[in-house]
């Protein structure tokens, strides 16, 4: 029982760090997936005096992924009353060309501004509609969400790191008698601190294993899957190999670094 108690506080603190880290990764992935969705649905419309080829348009800005010419038929249909076929054909020829441009990724406001400016500078282009107002709002919302998740994760990381540090110091006090006895028989520092490192690494492994179980559970949770589906995105919530490796590495490295700091800062007894 005492042994479980000894481990519990450090395991929980490490688990909080890993949890906040994975939540941050999930939020990042969701934002990226959502941005991709937005990019697919977002387009810029330009009006040109003359016909432009796909190559001509692509040369204007590297952000442009593809361009499609919009058919003038729906405009002409509105003016249809009383115009004969011959005049309609003439009108088709004299009407400006409309192009819809799709982009490689969801642009930032500055990228939109640059794109609009470069399109307007083109000799043939008369008008550009970038829908920047609605774009800016969505983009700012995404940034706000990302910022909030980052701040939240960093706060949890800092607080729990301090908790881990404090817990390791308690361990050191618990083991100080043993460490000083070992010192009296000439044990080098690494051997005296071996228990501290062993406990820290063991707890890091336990915390990583627990985080694996938790995120595997979250990944297969129907309600969570449906939430992502409802906003039209599909992401990897927990990559069993890549994410687990990241979490385990962070837990082990953090434990070793904190244990080393405690050993280095510890005033050596004679």
């Amino acid at each position: 029982m005492q042994s479980i108690k000894n481990h519990l506080s450090l395991v929980l603190a490490l688990l909080s760090i890993l949890f906040s880290m994975q939540v941050f990764i999930i939020a990042e992935r969701s934002i990226e997936a959502y941005k991709e969705n937005l990019a697919n649905n977002y387009s810029v419309v330009v009006v040109s005096k003359k016909t432009l080829s796909k190559e001509d348009i692509a040369k204007i800005n590297p952000l442009i992924a593809e361009s499609f010419e919009l058919s003038p038929d729906h405009v002409i249909k509105r003016l249809d009353s009383g115009i004969d076929a011959k005049n309609t054909e003439l009108l088709k020829v004299t009407l400006p060309r409309f192009y819809k441009l799709s982009l490689k990724h969801y642009p930032s406001p500055s990228e939109i501004q640059k794109l609009t400016k470069e399109l307007r500078n083109h000799a043939a282009i008369k008008k550009v509609e970038d829908f920047s107002h609605s774009h800016d709002t969505t983009y700012k919302l995404l940034l706000l969400f990302k910022g909030m998740v980052t701040v939240f994760s960093v706060c949890i990381f800092v607080v729990t790191t301090l908790l881990v540090f404090k817990e390791l110091r308690i361990w050191q006090f618990k083991h100080s008698e043993r460490m000083s006895i070992m010192g009296l028989f000439g044990a080098p520092m690494w051997l005296r601190s071996a228990v501290l490192f062993r406990l820290a690494i063991m707890d890091a492994i336990i915390a990583s294993a627990l985080s694996y179980v938790i995120f595997k559970g979250i990944e297969s949770n129907e309600w969570i899957i449906s939430q992502f589906q409802s906003i039209g995105i599909e992401i990897v919530i927990f990559d069993s190999i890549g994410d687990f490796f990241k979490l385990a590495s962070v837990a082990i490295v953090l434990s070793i670094v904190l244990a080393s700091l405690i050993v280095v800062w510890h005033k050596e007894e004679v």
Partner: protein, 223 residues
């Protein structure tokens, strides 16, 4: 004969306090059995502490096992301590470890192989009559038994020098007898230098010994 300890004009004090040992010079030959006596508070334990580097000389030179302890580095001190067998007044056993593991400590630190370690521990447990208690923890034993464990630990790695601080201070006759036998055996059979801080020199001891007495900060050779 080699000198295992050489002290020249050695002064000892705890930081900020008055000098306890003042300008003492003495040497101890390898393989000798030495008693250090003196009244309570005379500085016997302080001198012993300085011999294993727990108290650095305030002045003068103190060489133990070829290592100058005035200004010694941590790694050199560790090296020296690995070749010492120390018996403390308060035993200094690791409470969380079994008797067996406590005796193993110097062997582990010195990197002995597991088979050697186990044989040595078994043999020592027999010598201190604690074979049946091997798996117990220190707090489950009496004071006399704990001191016998501490003695076995001090002997386990065949040290060049044994430093014992009042090893039989509060022990019954049986435990005291065992401890003196072990110290005597280490000195006569293994030629280990033994330094014992004590109030009373046992009369039954069958070894030639040197006797230093501490009084008013000075160390006198009695015999």
């Amino acid at each position: 004969m080699d000198k295992v300890i050489v002290a020249k004009n050695l002064s000892l004090s705890y930081s900020g306090h008055e000098t306890i040992i003042n300008q003492a010079s003495f040497d101890i030959t390898s393989g000798s059995f030495v008693f250090i006596t003196g009244a309570s508070g005379s500085g016997k334990s302080t001198l012993l502490k300085s011999l294993y580097g727990a108290l650095k000389p305030q002045q003068g030179s103190l060489i133990v096992g070829g290592v100058e302890l005035n200004g010694v580095t941590r790694s050199k001190l560790n090296f020296l301590r690995r070749h010492l067998g120390i018996v403390f007044q308060d035993y200094k056993l690791v409470k969380e470890w079994t008797i067996e593991k406590n005796i193993m400590l110097p062997l582990i630190i010195n990197g002995y192989e597991k088979s050697v370690t186990q044989n040595q521990v078994d043999s020592l447990l027999k010598h201190v009559r604690l074979k049946h208690q091997a798996g117990k923890f220190p707090l489950e034993l009496s004071g006399g038994e704990q001191q016998r464990v501490a003695m076995a630990r001090a002997l386990s790695h065949n040290p060049i020098l044994i430093l014992a601080d009042e090893p039989t201070g509060n022990l019954d006759d049986y435990s005291s007898g065992l401890i003196w036998n072990l110290l005597e055996g280490a000195n006569t059979q293994l030629k280990t230098t033994v330094i014992v801080v004590t109030h009373h020199i046992p009369e039954s001891l069958n070894v030639d010994y040197k006797h230093f007495h501490i009084e008013y900060g000075s160390i006198y050779a009695v015999n």
